[in-house]
């Protein structure tokens, strides 16, 4: 075997290098040097991000088990930036007394899941894909249970791992059926052999469940609010953006690449699931009082919208999807950033506690409001553009009624996003959250997010870049 092929996987390699370096430092560094651990980690990770943001030519490694397309660079860069923002936001939380000795673990686990996601994205074979998905899932479960002495966190971890494994089980079973029918686990080979026979269809249905679980689409979403509520906020952010973003991308590639032959069938499935996801999640979201739970349902509903890009199954759908993930990432992370800051300083996670936030922390509440507007898809914020593109892509393929239903649901989603804005802005509170002086890493993360929310949509070249690479398949 030609080991130099590994050098082509520079994205994975540098990430691995970062992980290893951090692990070594974590284990061996002195007490004094440890203070710079986080700064170092952030710098290393930024370098990794910068190094890997330029797309190259398509290639494949290990006989097609690993395939690279230029669009992968974009989606991975998006994930990198998202992770960076999450790390920035977690900075202060990791400096608290109970976590300070476990920072190394945090970085190690987080970056491991990222590594797993890389593998998922670039997989060309179901084995690689399965390893990736599990590499992403298992450290995630420990991250969810990161607050060891917190009942909620522990419970969330247990729920996550149980659901996740259950999903893997079903998925794996489905995959075994697919294998039985086609005799291969290479994406390309399966696509060639597949005839959409009954056994393949059943296999596909079981397999897809594992991915839908990751994206938390209705009815495979039930774990989401509980886990989001229990997990440490930074992890929730990570889970809702990075994990989900990867999964939707992978769903697209696998559905189109591998199961392209049964497009008619999975479009019907997705049709139903999208309608359910958006509607049910919206209905739940309007009655939430805990901000993290609320964001969980919001993210389920957003996932429904993202799936509109998948259902179209076209290059346009793909670029809209990637773009949507990008915008969604910034918007959602901005909200989570504010939530994290407030949780860290005031230990408040109920929406009602945000009453009159504007009058004590105007900047935070403005950022949050902008992000919520962006999530709701209100111009001139980026969320509007991403929604328009994804609707447009689906509409083009003839999903008129679906688009209309999704659009009608934006009214409901606008309602619950605005409810938060309303609480923050309209009335002053007798017991407000006090003025918070934000730490610098969080500030940086919020500034990045805000700038992105405002400008990503207006600057059309970003979408153009993604769209040029488009499908990449």
């Amino acid at each position: 075997m030609n080991y130099s092929a590994f050098l082509q996987l520079h994205n994975e390699m540098t990430l691995l290098a970062v992980i290893v370096i951090l692990l070594v430092i974590d284990v061996f560094s002195s007490e004094k040097g440890y203070r710079f651990f986080q700064t170092l980690a952030l710098i290393l990770f930024s370098i990794h991000t910068l190094l890997n943001c330029v797309p190259g030519e398509p290639f494949e490694v290990a006989g097609g088990m690993y395939m690279y397309y230029p669009i992968h660079t974009y989606i991975k860069t998006i994930l990198n930036v998202g992770t960076l923002i999450v790390l920035l936001q977690a900075h202060r939380w990791l400096n608290t007394e109970e976590n300070i000795i476990r920072r190394g673990e945090f970085y190690f686990l987080t970056l491991s899941t990222l590594f797993g996601m890389y593998l998922m994205i670039s997989a060309g074979h179901f084995l690689m894909f399965f390893i990736g998905i599990e590499t992403a899932a298992l450290p995630m479960a420990t991250l969810v249970a990161f607050n060891k002495f917190n009942n909620k966190s522990a419970e969330a971890g247990a729920k996550y791992i149980l659901s996740s494994v259950f999903a893997s089980g079903l998925s794996l079973f489905g995959l075994s059926l697919v294998y039985g029918a086609t005799g291969s686990l290479y994406f390309d080979d399966i696509a060639k052999i597949m005839t959409a026979s009954q056994i393949e269809l059943i296999g596909f249905a079981f397999f897809a469940v594992g991915l839908f679980f990751k994206i938390s689409l209705v009815p495979f979403h039930l774990w989401t609010p509980d886990v989001y509520e229990g997990a440490p906020t930074s992890i929730t952010a990570y889970l809702s953006v990075i994990s989900k973003g990867t999964a939707v991308f992978v769903v697209f590639t696998i559905f189109v690449k591998v199961f392209g032959v049964m497009i008619a069938q999975w479009q019907i499935l997705l049709y139903i699931i999208i309608v359910l996801s958006i509607t049910v999640a919206n209905l739940f979201a309007i009655r939430q009082q805990n901000i993290k739970r609320f964001l969980a349902f919001s993210s389920i509903s957003q996932a429904g919208y993202i799936m509109l890009g998948v259902i179209s199954g076209t290059a346009l759908g793909m670029s809209s999807l990637v773009y949507y993930v990008l915008v969604y990432m910034f918007s959602n992370l901005a909200v989570f950033g504010v939530v994290t800051i407030i949780e860290n300083h005031a230990d408040k996670t109920s929406i009602r506690d945000y009453t009159g936030l504007y009058y004590t922390n105007p900047k935070l509440s403005i950022v949050m409001a902008l992000a919520l507007f962006s999530l709701a898809g209100i111009p001139p914020f980026s969320g509007f553009f991403s929604k328009y593109f994804i609707f447009s892509a689906a509409f083009k393929e003839g999903f008129y009624v679906l688009v209309f239903i999704a659009l009608a649901n934006t009214v409901v989603s606008l309602y619950f996003y605005l409810k938060v804005v309303k609480i923050m802005f309209f009335n002053q509170s007798e017991n407000p959250i006090e003025r918070i002086s934000t730490d610098i890493p969080s500030k940086i993360s919020l500034i990045i997010c805000t700038l992105a929310i405002v400008f990503v949509g207006l600057v059309s070249s970003i979408f153009e870049q993604i769209s040029v690479l488009g499908f990449g398949i």
Partner: protein, 633 residues
């Protein structure tokens, strides 16, 4: 004759200047400016009349002259709204009437309104009214007329509500505006229908006798009448509103809440005859194409005339008596138009109606201003508070008597001539109607002299301040108007104003004339018998009439009926249910949508139990369902 534009522009200018200056000028300056402008306007009007009647007669027929016309708004197609000035016998006559009465009122008000708060505003409004009324009469097309028609309405509203702190005045102004507005709705719809079929607004075209333009409208029928008839009837409704024809008369008596000079100007001499003027303006159309409507007008006029005359006999507020008398006299004019034919002898009614309009403007303005003078002295409108005033106010007494004689139709005062012509025309049309009108003439004489005797004769009241003659600024206009009222009848009206523009001299029906005068004298004598001295006779008469008297005294309860309708049908029956419907049903259904969403949200929360095994159940079911769907769909 382009200088006629000034007749319009000067009052407008005066309005704008006075309105903008508001309280910055002293009251007297504002009054003088207004009056000065009006004198110029009056002078210009007389000059116009002289110039018109001396030059416009071509081949025995008075021509229509349009010295100015500009397209104000062009619609696609042939329709356009023009603004312009149309001079023909009736508009010129109206110019004279309006500017004369308006000038008199301006002068009169200098004294009458002295010291009132908002004196400047008053003059501004007077100017606005004069502008609007003049614009109305010189309109070249029906839409211009409508425009000024509305402006007249609003100036009337503003002037009636001049004492805006007085609730009655506010209510009266509102009532006047809304009732006339309601009538204007008919006018507007009439215009719409007419313009749709004829594709023109222009009076020149409409009155040209060109049957072609009406062909399409006459052909279409709706509910048994031609569309043209409908249109003309609707237009008449507009006129009926302004001219207070039954049943749209209810605003006029209430309008007496305004300052008395205003009543004289608007509610006696000028605005209220706008309806008559409108019918006269479109007379060729009425008489040629919709004679049925014209007959209707005659009967509406006759009924209104009788109705108002009966009520006038029972009222005690002197201004209201005059108001009902006005309604009655306008009814006369309407009858005159209604019974008229076109051209020559046939057209006597038309000529008579215009003649009566002219004379009535003079003597009714006189009567109102006289009444104002009395009110000024006594500080009350009620007859009971008056009596024996002839000693204190000789000039007023004299001119008032002239006014009463004129309206009673006693030879040789102006009312005799004009009324006689109307009666003649009516008898020509139908004897029954003629007898009715003669009876009304008698009633008129009776109630006018009831008024006269109650004010100037009868028992002398004990006055707190002894009444005194009004100042010169008030008596001069009275005298001038008295002069016109006395001698106005001597004008050979048929030479100037006829239905077809050709001069004609009517032959006098001497029998009718004598009978009419006798009827008038009978009325006067009856009144004298009852009211010259304080006796029990009036009470006895009223008691013996009992029910009928009560009906008439309460104006046949028409106001109450309207109140009932507006309150119960309009407000309780329409507005409140609509608001309720909007708040509860329409709004409720939108809120309901939100409520339903919330409700569903609560209902489905059960699936989120927090039990991981139940989650797995749903998970599994979802998977199986997916497998099922993908297999069988």
């Amino acid at each position: 004759m382009q200088y006629t534009l000034l007749i319009l522009l000067l009052p407008l200018l005066s309005f704008v200047v006075l309105g903008l200056m508001d309280t910055k000028w002293k009251a007297r300056v504002a009054g003088s400016v207004g009056t000065l402008v009006l004198s110029v306007v009056a002078a210009l009007s007389y000059y116009t009349a002289w110039a018109y009647f001396s030059t416009a007669n071509v081949g025995g027929i008075y021509q229509k002259i349009v010295p100015l016309q500009t397209v104000w708004m062009q619609f696609s197609g042939q329709l356009h709204i023009d603004l312009g000035i149309l001079l023909d016998p009736i508009s010129v006559m109206m110019l004279v009437v309006i500017s004369t009465v308006s000038l008199m009122v301006h002068i009169y008000s200098l004294a009458y309104m002295k010291g009132e708060k908002g004196f400047e505003r008053y003059y501004a409004f007077l100017s606005l009214f004069t502008f609007s009324m003049l614009g109305l009469v010189v309109a070249t097309n029906i839409f211009q007329m409508y425009i000024f028609w509305e402006l007249v309405g609003v100036s009337s509203y503003l002037l009636i509500g001049f004492y805006y702190t007085k609730p009655e005045a506010v209510a009266a102004s509102k009532k006047a505006f809304i009732v006339t507005r309601f009538a204007d709705l008919g006018f507007l719809i009439g215009i719409l229908i007419l313009s749709f079929y004829t594709q023109t607004f222009d009076f020149g075209v409409l009155n040209s006798g060109n049957a072609g333009i009406f062909a399409s409208a006459s052909g279409v029928t709706f509910m048994g009448a031609s569309v043209l008839s409908w249109a003309m009837a609707l237009i008449f409704i507009g006129g009926a509103g302004k001219s207070a024809m039954f049943p749209l008369h209810i605003w006029l008596p209430d309008a007496m809440e305004g300052p008395t000079p205003v009543s004289a100007l608007i509610h006696a001499a000028t605005m209220v005859v706008a309806g008559v003027y409108l019918v006269a303006r479109l007379f060729p159309v009425y008489v040629t194409y919709t004679p049925d409507v014209l007959h209707g007008i005659a009967y509406v006029g006759a009924f209104t005339s009788l109705f108002a005359a009966v009520i006038a006999c029972t009222q005690t507020d002197i201004k209201r008596v005059l108001a009902f008398s006005t309604i009655s006299q306008i009814g006369y004019m309407m009858v005159g138009l209604g019974v008229s034919g076109y051209g020559g002898h046939e057209g006597t009614g038309y000529m008579a109606s215009m003649f009566h309009l002219f004379t009535h403007a003079m003597f009714k303005a006189l009567l109102f201003l006289g009444a104002g003078s009395v009110i000024h002295a006594v500080h009350s409108n009620e007859m009971q508070k008056m009596g024996g005033l002839r000693k204190y106010m000789p000039v007023t007494h004299l001119v008032f008597l002239i006014g009463c004689l004129a309206i009673a139709g006693i030879f040789p005062l102006s009312g005799f001539f004009s009324k006689d012509e109307i009666l003649a025309a009516t008898y020509m049309y139908s004897t029954g109607l003629g007898i009715g009108m003669s009876f009304i003439a008698g009633l008129t004489a009776f109630y006018m002299f009831r008024l006269y005797f109650n004010i100037f004769w009868g028992k002398e009241n004990s006055y707190e301040h002894s009444p005194h003659e009004s100042p010169l600024a008030m008596t001069i206009p009275l005298v001038v108007l008295a002069f016109f009222s006395f001698f106005g009848g001597l004008i050979p009206f048929g030479k100037f104003v006829t239905s077809d523009g050709a001069a004609y001299t009517g032959e006098t029906n001497y029998v009718l004339a004598i009978v009419s005068v006798l009827i008038g004298i009978t009325g006067i004598l009856l009144a004298a018998a009852m009211y010259r001295k304080k006796t029990m006779l009036p009470d006895r008469v009223s008691q013996s009439l009992g029910f009928i008297y009560q009906l008439a005294r309460n104006k046949f309860y028409v106001d109450e009926l309207y109140l009932f309708i507006t309150k119960n049908v309009f407000f309780k029956g329409m507005a409140s249910p609509v608001s309720w419907y909007d708040r509860h049903v329409v709004n409720g259904s939108v809120n309901g949508l939100a409520v339903v969403t919330q409700w569903v949200s609560v209902k489905i929360k059960g699936i989120q139990t927090g039990k991981v095994q139940q989650y797995a159940w749903v998970f599994l079911l979802g998977t199986l369902l997916m497998a099922f769907l993908i297999l069988f769909l």
